[in-house]
């Protein structure tokens, strides 16, 4: 105790000397206290705070009574300070705030990308999930190997009968597909009459994919358009429609085909994959 008292006296002498910057050391001690207050409960050095407070009291010539539990008082002060904080600051300082924001952004970006994909291709990312395993999700972005039974092909006799019935008053008796995806319905039927030809535009679909048929019947065959297949088209595939050669051309993941039979010229266009498009075209009768 005696040596401590001597040390204190020496320190007091330094403190009282004119050379010593009292304001600077007071500020230094206060800065240290505030720095500790800013730290989390686990990291806060309560001993240093107490020591600095004692020194400050002592330098001011006051007696420091450690009659209170410093750690407990500091905790209470922090709790009161936290309670006064605005809600957004509380949220911002919450431990789950950053991960929650990151997760929300990721979900928003995924949904946006999915919306664009669905708009562009008619198939969203969830349609393309083929396998969910332990810690992974398998996707299939290939149109040709579309799994699942949402496009199971079925006899389209009812649709075909309806279309033939609607075409008859327009003096049109076209060949139509006998096989269509199960959920396909008639989305549009629009006949038109011209001086030398009669036409009908038919759209079959399920809201996501479509199969469009444009039929022209010419009263004068000499004016029928000449069907040309571009020589330099890289994606022309030869198929058979009613036993005759026909050509299927891919344009931006859509398949188009023009076919002539008697007085009729058929334009087909499909947003379905190649296999299903061929299946529909080969069922035309």
């Amino acid at each position: 105790m005696g040596s401590e008292g001597k040390k204190s006296e020496n320190f007091k002498d330094i403190w009282n000397s004119t050379e010593f910057d009292r304001e600077k050391i007071t500020n230094q001690l206060l800065v240290e206290i505030y720095d500790e207050f800013r730290k989390s409960d686990e990291q806060m050095d309560c001993g240093l705070i107490q020591e600095n407070m004692e020194t400050l009291h002592w330098l001011a010539g006051e007696e420091y009574f450690d009659s209170v539990n410093t750690k407990e008082e500091i905790q209470k002060a922090k709790t009161r300070a936290k309670a006064k904080r605005p809600v957004y600051k509380k949220l911002a300082h919450s431990k789950i705030f950053k991960p929650a924001v990151a997760a929300s952004l990721a979900i928003a970006m995924l949904l946006s990308a999915n919306s664009i994909l669905a708009y562009a291709t008619g198939k969203d990312i969830f349609d393309r999930i083929v396998e969910i395993g332990n810690g992974y999700i398998g996707f299939n972005f290939s149109d040709s190997a579309d799994p699942g039974s949402s496009y199971r092909m079925t006899d389209s006799n009812a649709i075909c009968r309806t279309l033939k019935k609607d075409c008859a008053p327009c003096n049109l008796f076209p060949m139509l597909p006998q096989s269509l995806p199960q959920n396909f319905k008639i989305e549009n039927f629009e006949p038109q009459k011209f001086k030398n030809s009669q036409t009908v535009s038919i759209t079959l679909g399920d809201g996501k994919n479509s199969f469009m048929i444009y039929i022209e019947r010419y009263s004068d065959r000499s004016h029928m358009p000449e069907i040309k297949i571009p020589d330099n088209e890289p994606s022309v595939k030869k198929i058979k429609i009613k036993g005759k050669d026909a050509y299927l051309t891919e344009i931006s993941n859509k398949w188009t085909s023009i076919f002539q039979e008697g007085d009729y010229v058929y334009n087909f266009s499909s947003t379905l994959d190649y296999n299903r498009t061929v299946q529909i075209l080969e069922s035309v009768n």
């Binding site: 919306s115 664009i116 708009y119 562009a120 989305e187 549009n188 629009e190 038109q192 011209f194 001086k195 030398n196 030809s197 036409t199 535009s201 759209t203 479509s210 469009m212 444009y214 022209e216 000499s222 004016h223 358009p225 000449e226 069907i227 040309k228 297949i229 571009p230 330099n232 088209e233 994606s235 022309v236 050509y247 051309t249 344009i251 931006s252 993941n253 859509k254 188009t256 023009i258 334009n267 266009s269 947003t271």
Partner: protein, 177 residues
């Protein structure tokens, strides 16, 4: 006397045979000088098909980079319905239901002063449709070669910018006398 009359008649008939020839020749000369030097003449006097009518627009045409595949096939046809009446039949067939489909700047042109001169220019569109078949009948001034040109147009709206595909087409020309 009979011989004289006979020889005069023969000479007269002979002359008659030659009289129309210069007239036909002059007419042919006039026609030739006005024959279009740009475009394709139609073999059929009453029908002219589109030069770029095609089964697939995968090649050629004014196709914008981000929008290939909106137009499936196109056709134009010019009919001479008799007298001074001509008729346009045009088709733009899309590959799916499109927000806007039709014809941009349909031009009825006639060959005049050694160039194609626009007689009439217009555009026509349909909305939310997969196809547009269009017919237009016009009375024209005779004595000229006529043809139609048009830009087949298809548009699909996206989130920000619409995708647009265009395809130029023109018919061969017909003389309307």
């Amino acid at each position: 006397m009979l011989k004289k009359v006979t020889s005069v008649l023969i000479v007269f008939v002979f002359c008659l045979c030659f009289i129309p020839m210069p007239a036909v020749h002059v007419n042919a000369d006039t026609r030739n000088s006005n024959t279009p030097t740009v475009g394709t003449a139609s073999a059929d006097p009453d029908f002219a098909a589109g030069i770029y009518n095609t089964g697939s627009t995968g090649s050629g045409g004014g196709v914008s980079a981000m929008a290939v595949g909106l137009i499936g096939s196109v056709s134009l046809a010019l009919y001479h319905d008799g007298g001074n009446t001509i008729r346009l039949e045009a088709r733009t067939i899309g590959t799916e239901v499109l927000n806007k489909i039709g014809f941009q700047d349909i031009k009825l042109q006639r060959w005049q002063n050694s160039q194609w001169v626009n007689v009439k220019v217009w555009s026509t569109y349909r909305y939310n449709s997969a196809t547009y078949a269009y017919e237009s009948i016009t009375n024209v001034t005779p004595g000229y070669d006529y043809r139609y040109t048009a830009v087949h147009y298809a548009e699909k709206d996206w989130l920000i910018f619409p995708s647009v595909q265009t395809f130029y087409n023109e018919t061969s020309y017909l003389y309307i006398g």
